[in-house]
Symmetry: C2
Subunit: 142 residues, 2 copies
DNA sequence: CGGAAGATGTTTGTACACTAACGATCTGAT
DNA sequence: ATCAGATCGTTAGTGTACAAACATCTTCCG
């Protein structure tokens, strides 16, 4: 390994490392601005539920890019906070139907407001065109 | 909350959500391609150590964007794998000096190769210009 | 109808990631 | 020289995130 070869790999220029650091900054902004101590994943689950109304636990996981073990924990914590309700599905006894609680319904407008503010602060260093470029590029790496 | 207002917040268009999904894809690629079962953070710690030669545990954390609790666990696992060595600093009794083991030294070239391959696969959907644009934009959100 | 294949949810284990609090040690200013 | 403040590493607690294994239930094919 010559110096030239070693120099060719710079940690700070790797997508993975940058993704981790940007995610860290975003997480800090999120934590400061999210209502009710909601985490990004809990937030995502609530927003999706508000969109679809009701769905099974595993389906909610697929709709929010969480695997079955992860969505299970997220739903449990949301239930503990009184934001979602769990009920057996009469049509399929394997399923648990998840719905927003009335408290969560009332919280939804605040969620959207907080979400906008968090995104705005995260993207603050970029202008409108750069933001759009970034989102499009990220989307293609999904 | 009208339909128009609700439509104005789309989870799939939020930076935070996209960052999480891209990070997930990258993590999967990383896991498939990293030598020795190394995780992204373990990999980052090794690469930094290879650069700086030796440093204290907390400093290694700062050099790799990990807080003290996180770097502690990462270093412990690297020690368990025989890739780093810990020694008390004779000049400052608070410090633990971390160095690469000979095995890790021998592994460094493979780390750079794997790192390049992982980055390449992660960025595969983008052309060279787009990659550069993405890295620059991400860097500004750090 | 009956059984294979697939889906649903649960649990266990490992690994980040951060907060908070803690004791030990070092440093700098008085 | 000492003492306040900073730094170093540790621990405990919470919350993602994934793999793997499991029991239960549904569906669909023969």
């Amino acid at each position: 390994m010559t110096v030239a070869q070693a120099a060719a790999y710079r940690l700070d220029d790797q997508v993975g490392y940058l993704l981790r650091r940007v995610s860290q900054r975003h997480a800090a902004i999120f934590q400061a601005g999210a209502p009710d101590g909601l985490t990004p994943t809990q937030f995502a689950a609530l927003v999706r539920l508000a969109e679809v109304g009701r769905c099974s636990q595993n389906q909610l996981g697929r709709l929010t890019a969480m695997d079955v073990a992860t969505i299970k924990g997220v739903v449990s914590r949301l239930e503990a906070k009184g934001l979602v309700r769990l009920a057996p599905d009469p049509e399929d006894r394997r399923r648990t139907v998840i719905t927003l609680s009335p408290e969560a319904d009332a919280l939804v407008p605040a969620l959207y407001r907080a979400g906008h503010a968090i995104t705005e602060e995260t993207l603050a260093p970029l202008d409108a065109r750069e933001r759009l470029t970034l989102l499009k590029l990220l989307d293609r790496l999904t």
